[in-house]
């Protein structure tokens, strides 16, 4: 039994990272109705910003690993990624504002490949050890163990989830975002500057990706320029699973995916499923949800008007 609970903890901590990436995915989709495939690579840029920033602060500025260091590095990486997001939006997506949605989607794939391979050129293709930003602590409770880092990831995910919901539901900016996603033409007619809102959304989404990149690298301290590929796809699945465009849905989808993967690895051999099928789990879930509830678990069904 305690083994099962331990697996559940493992799954939740893995899932909270997927959830964190999925939040950014789903927010950009919610406002712009377009899937930003470069999101996973902004996550990579976030991790590398943290790697260089953290390394510099530790080696040149003599900072010790502490919560302060983590916060400084995380905020720094979030700013760098928000700017990256703004630049991507300005250069790649804005010129295509009135193009068919497929064009933008393919451009997003192009941006994703561009970031991955530019990363290989600038950062080098070899894996790099991520600096230890906070001291390692393992918490043991009745035979169950989890680390302070896993706890931080979970807390940050919950905090960002609440924060995002607040921004979208309660602020003026959030109201404009919702209006834009509802009808962009009407939105500009009532005096909202669509470009500002879209840039803001991109900046915010990319900052979330950076936070996810840093927190994931704390748990799994090896980073490579291609690290965003698989988590990006899985976070996309998580977002669809929870109902794309729905913020709590993305978090829920991420957690479900993490737990499902862990359980397949932990207990798969009992039902003759080898652990190497863990990556297939995401796609089986995706196909399942698309077959039975295409709008996702928390998504609202929309009526197609003919």
């Amino acid at each position: 039994m305690s083994e099962f609970i331990q697996q559940l903890i493992n799954g939740l901590s893995l899932g909270s990272i997927y959830a964190l990436i999925a939040l950014g995915y789903t927010m950009i989709y919610g406002v712009l109705r377009f899937i930003n495939f470069a999101h996973g690579d902004v996550y990579m840029v976030g991790a590398f910003s943290g790697y260089y920033l953290g390394g510099w602060l530790i080696n040149s500025m003599g900072m010790q690993s502490s919560v302060l260091l983590l916060v400084v590095v995380m905020v720094g990486a979030m700013i760098i990624c928000a700017l990256t997001g703004l630049v991507i939006e300005r250069l790649a997506y804005r010129p295509l504002r009135n193009s068919p949605r497929l064009t933008v989607l393919i451009t997003a794939i192009g941006v994703s490949l561009f970031l991955e391979y530019s990363g290989q050129v600038f950062f080098g293709a070899d894996p790099k050890p991520f600096p230890s930003l906070i001291p390692d602590r393992t918490i043991t409770y009745g035979g169950l163990t989890f680390t302070n880092k896993e706890l931080i990831v979970l807390c940050v995910t919950v905090f960002l989830l609440i924060g995002l919901t607040f921004i979208v539901r309660k602020t003026k900016m959030g109201m404009a975002m919702r209006a834009l996603s509802f009808n962009s033409t009407a939105c500009s007619l009532v005096g909202i500057n669509n470009n500002v809102i879209i840039s803001f959304t991109f900046g915010l989404g990319s900052a979330l990706a950076a936070a996810a990149g840093i927190l994931s690298s704390l748990n799994y301290p090896v980073i490579t320029p291609l690290m965003g590929l698989l988590p990006g796809i899985k976070a996309f699945v998580a977002a669809v699973l929870g109902g794309i465009g729905n913020i709590p849905g993305a978090a829920l989808g991420g957690l479900i995916l993490g737990v499902a993967e862990t359980m397949i690895v932990g207990y798969g051999d009992k039902i003759h499923v080898p652990p190497s099928y863990r990556d297939a789990v995401a796609f089986v879930l995706l196909i399942g949800i698309l077959l039975f509830k295409p709008s996702g678990i928390l998504g609202k069904g929309t009526v197609e008007k003919v």
Partner: protein, 396 residues
């Protein structure tokens, strides 16, 4: 003063245009031929072209770079001493980016365009297995420095290696676990995407269970995975006394960390895939006190090894690892065979490599056996204070 615009001379008639075109094509062809002659002169030129393909970038970049450094050191040593057979060795290196498919492309290029007389590479068995059939087909002798999978040299009679093979390494760790660590209950965690890891695990299980040990749990992962807690939680439930993890350093570093986080405090054991400074950078304190088998140790007091370590430190300002030592020996065995053969003609060179006996390498005394594998002993290392320390030698 108004200057007249300068007009470009025009070719007025169609005939002369054609002539220009033909001339252009001809000169292009001539240039091509010339450059081909220059490059493809093979052994008949002033230098002997030797091809090397290695993972200089990508996932196992640390292995590729080390073996490349070793090869370069050996070849430069030979060139400074006047070369081989009165000619300088010209090393042509291709990077396969640690990617499947790239090794085959690199080797095809080396053989057809650079017309190398022999090939050195790769460390990873899966990539050697990709390149070996091409070398065999073109009858170019290939010596792999570090591919330990059995299948590699069974591809054909032109494929050799200077390292030991997986079954031997698996057996060595099984012997070590039973006789030196006195562990009888061991769990195995295999990387199913690497032939190397699967081979080591199979040999380990075979020897270990035949000599009184029990495998209490078997789990697997795929290279590139980052989360191993599910597998480790299940392993923890079976209460092993040690865990055999024959993977590569990136994943092993993470596995060691996550095992400690889950409160698993038994030693981990592995093979030469662990040998990289990155292992201790990722694993940190978690990897301390674990064991792995290797080809080489800088602690070795023999003058050949100490000379190599000194030269390597001088040139690259760091300590050589096993892959560097194997690269050095692979090139060494090749040059030695060239000298004995007195020619770089494919068949004679092949025979000379096959006849290598008691070659004094830095990874031990190398004799190539009938299966074209090197027979030599393995060294067990442990990790202490972030450094690798020699524990004992286990003979075949």
């Amino acid at each position: 003063m108004r200057s007249e615009p300068i007009m470009a001379p025009r070719i007025s008639s169609v005939g002369s245009l054609r002539l220009v075109r033909q001339l252009g094509a001809l000169s292009c062809a001539a240039l091509f031929l010339l450059s081909a002659c220059e490059k493809g002169g093979g052994a008949s030129g002033n230098s002997i072209p030797v091809g090397e393909y290695a993972s200089l970038t990508g996932l196992t970049a640390s292995f590729g770079t080390s073996s490349h450094n070793g090869v370069v050191l050996q070849i430069d040593k030979a060139n400074t001493a006047g070369g081989v057979l009165g000619k300088k060795i010209n090393l042509i290196t291709e990077d396969d980016q640690s990617k499947p498919g790239e090794a085959a492309t690199a080797v095809r290029k080396l053989i057809s365009r650079d017309q190398v007389v022999a090939l050195l590479g790769e460390i990873a068995s899966s990539r050697s297995l990709e390149a070996a059939p091409i070398a065999q087909q073109s009858k170019i002798p290939m010596i792999t420095p570090g591919s330990t999978n059995v299948k590699v040299t069974t591809i054909g009679d032109y494929i050799f290696r200077v390292c030991f093979i997986d079954p031997f390494q698996g057996e060595v760790m099984a012997k070590f676990a039973l006789n030196s660590l006195h562990k009888t209950k061991v769990a195995v965690l295999t990387d199913v995407r690497q032939d190397y890891s699967v081979g080591l695990a199979a040999a380990f299980k075979d020897y270990f269970t035949k000599h009184g040990g029990t495998i209490v749990a078997e789990q697997s992962y795929s290279s590139g995975d980052q989360d191993f807690k599910a597998q480790l939680t299940s392993i923890k439930g079976s209460n092993p006394e040690a865990i055999f993890v024959p993977g590569y350093y990136n994943e092993v570093g993470l596995i060691a960390r996550q095992a400690k986080e889950l409160g698993i405090n038994v030693p981990l054991m592995g093979g030469d895939g662990w040998d990289s400074p990155t292992l201790t950078q990722i694993g940190g304190h978690a990897i301390e006190g674990d064991y792995f088998s290797n080809h080489f140790s800088t602690d070795d007091k023999s003058p050949v090894v100490q000379g190599f370590v000194k030269n390597y430190r001088q040139r690259y300002s760091k300590d050589p690892d096993a892959m560097a030592a194997l690269g050095y020996d692979a090139a060494g065995v090749l040059l030695d065979a060239m000298k004995r053969a007195g020619t770089t003609e494919h068949e004679k060179l092949r025979d000379a490599i096959a006849a290598t006996k008691n070659y004094e390498g830095v990874t031990g005394t190398i004799t190539i056996n009938a299966q074209r594998n090197a027979t030599k002993s393995a060294k067990i290392l442990t990790i202490k204070d972030g450094k690798f320390h020699f524990v004992e030698t286990i003979a075949p």
